[in-house]
């Protein structure tokens, strides 16, 4: 693997996280628990999709084979996607959507804060531009974690169930492979060790404050770095990609 291949793979991983998560969030638009929250969540989905679009565009440039951001989004198969299994988990109830979001938001906050210092100017630029949005996202999902934990018996139970369900998917976010090793040496990639420490501290703090028990999970799920996913991803792609595949080469 050379530097260019590693950078392509790294950028794609970040882009896919946003693309798949925003696809999940967008399914709430028009169906949120109340109007103001519907608008807020759609806003967050739009931010994340915007970040993903910039990253896919850059991935296409790095690859240098003339693939556009749409080619990369709509014409890759399920083994060529590198998003974490966490972001492809179904929306479930609002507690599950919020817990998934909070786990990702806290990760993104620490990750992109570090990536803003990357020696790759494009990645650093995208990261710097995203931090303001992500700061708001953490505040949003974090405030709901506290409301659910400290709200009613029902909301607390729902949040506890969601956290229990999702916890085993959180470890994957911090995995590093030969891509990371190569790019860390170049000063491009972020060392996940520090991100994990910051994530653990912040998430466990808020779970405590919300009176939610932190699950003890012996085995974290893994595979997405090799393009191995849960069964959900195939359905997400089938829905998302069908039209450009039915009319190949069309402009929209």
């Amino acid at each position: 693997m050379n530097k260019q291949e590693a950078l392509f793979s790294y950028t794609l991983r970040l882009a896919d996280n946003g693309l798949i998560l925003s696809q999940r969030l967008a399914a709430w638009t028009g169906h949120g628990p109340f109007l103001e929250e519907d608008l807020a969540l759609t806003n967050i989905a739009l931010d994340i999709l915007g970040q993903a679009k910039s990253l896919l565009e850059y991935a296409g440039q790095v690859e240098g084979k003339g693939r556009s951001e749409d080619d990369l989004a709509f014409l890759r198969g399920e083994r060529e996607f590198y998003n974490t299994q966490l972001v492809e988990q179904p929306n479930g109830d609002y507690a599950k959507t919020i817990a998934r979001q909070y786990f990702v938001d806290v990760f993104d906050f620490h990750f992109y804060t570090a990536l803003a210092n990357s020696k790759d100017e494009t990645l650093a630029g995208i990261a710097a531009k995203s931090i303001k949005e992500i700061t708001y996202h953490v505040r949003h999902s974090g405030s709901w974690m506290l409301r659910f934990g400290g709200g009613t018996e029902e909301s607390k139970q729902r949040l506890q169930d969601a956290v229990n369900d999702l916890w085993r998917y959180t470890g994957e976010q911090f995995e590093m492979n030969e891509v990371d090793a190569l790019l860390i040496k170049e000063g491009i990639a972020v060392d996940m060790t520090a991100v994990k420490a910051a994530w653990d501290k912040q998430v466990i703090n808020i779970l405590n404050e919300a009176s939610i028990t932190t699950p003890l999970v012996a085995v974290m799920q893994t595979g997405s770095r090799q393009g191995k996913h849960t069964e959900h991803l195939g359905y997400i792609l089938a829905e998302m990609q069908y039209l450009p595949r039915v009319i190949p080469g069309a402009k929209w």
């Binding site: 967008a26 169906h31 628990p33 896919l56 709509f74 400290g150 709200g151 009613t152 039209l243 929209w252």
Partner: protein, 308 residues
């Protein structure tokens, strides 16, 4: 009081929330504004239906932002309705129990991607005709909400037209998809302006109160005149054999919509009436525990604050 009110209308001055107003004027406005708000909210559903299947990233972003705008319009309008002494719970309850109406156009299904462009071009286009007029409506908060809304609606229409352009000038499959969508949306769009003037009793009173400023038929005619040349440019055929230019009237003559179908959809028997309402009721009911949690949490926080 009544004289003061009439004089104010005569001078084209705005009526404001604290001003005296006739009961019927207030009732008419609450009904019209909340119906308008419901239309924005229900309107999120047929378009939201295609967000996860939008065929390009740009199209997905544009559509999400549009549907979000419609939600925002709903919010401004619910707020305007509240200035007349009604609450969000009351108006939502009227919607969920089927007492309140909303624009019938949203009871038609969005079957293909071309429907999304068509809704922007035709449905937002027709809505603008009505809404431009409502910027000068006599009730202040409603008028001001409409000024904000109109800016965004004309943006939606342009984006819708642009989306239809991609199809009309695209592959043969895309063009066929656009024509099919136009065939299905044309007549329901014309019916958005409401019954003909001789069959629209509420409309005359609304014009007298300067809530409305043009009649249904006037608005419908203006819409047809404007849209024909756009369809011609796209190379799409408007599905009306009676459509032709009338030199004398300097306007297009056009056929009669199927008013029986209109009556059926208004009465709740359109293709998607049940689904639209069910989706809103489901979202509201499933949101109940979320709203309850937020309320309970805010209450506890306040207690802690006042104890400290």
């Amino acid at each position: 009081m009544e004289e003061w009110f009439d004089a104010k209308l005569q001078k084209n001055e705005m009526i404001e929330p604290k001003d005296w107003m006739p009961d019927n004027y207030r009732k008419h406005l609450i009904r019209q504004i909340s119906q308008h708000a419901h239309s924005e909210i229900i309107g999120m559903l047929p378009e939201g239906n295609w967000i996860t299947r939008a065929p390009s990233l740009r199209a997905k972003i544009v559509l999400m932002a549009k549907v979000q705008d419609e939600g925002g319009h709903g919010l401004y309008l619910y707020t305007a309705a509240e200035t007349l002494g009604t609450s969000r719970e009351e108006v939502l309850d009227a919607l969920h129990t089927g007492k309140a109406k909303y624009s019938s156009i949203f009871n038609y299904p969005t079957l293909t991607w071309a429907d999304i462009g068509m809704v922007g071009w035709l449905v937002d286009g027709a809505a603008i005709m009505n809404q431009v007029m409502l910027q000068r409506t006599s009730y202040g908060p409603y008028s001001r909400a409409m000024v904000r809304i109109c800016k965004e609606e004309s943006f939606h229409q342009r984006q819708g037209y642009e989306s239809v352009c991609h199809l009309a000038f695209g592959t043969p499959e895309q063009k066929a998809m656009a024509q099919d969508a136009l065939n299905r949306w044309w007549w329901p769009t014309l019916m958005m302006f409401g019954p003909t003037d001789d069959k629209s009793p509420n409309s005359a009173q609304a014009i007298k109160w300067k809530i409305k400023r043009e009649s249904n038929d006037q608005l419908r005619q203006r819409f047809v005149n404007q849209t024909v040349s756009q369809a011609e440019y796209l190379g799409l055929t408007i599905p009306d054999p009676d459509l032709k230019w009338n030199e004398e009237r300097q306007a297009y003559d056009f056929g009669t919509p199927n008013w029986d179908e209109f009556a059926a959809v208004v009465a709740g028997n359109g293709p998607c009436n049940k689904e639209r309402l069910a989706a809103r009721v489901k979202a509201h009911n499933e949101g109940e525990w979320v709203r309850a949690a937020a309320t309970a949490y805010a209450l506890k926080k306040n207690e802690v604050m006042s104890a400290a």
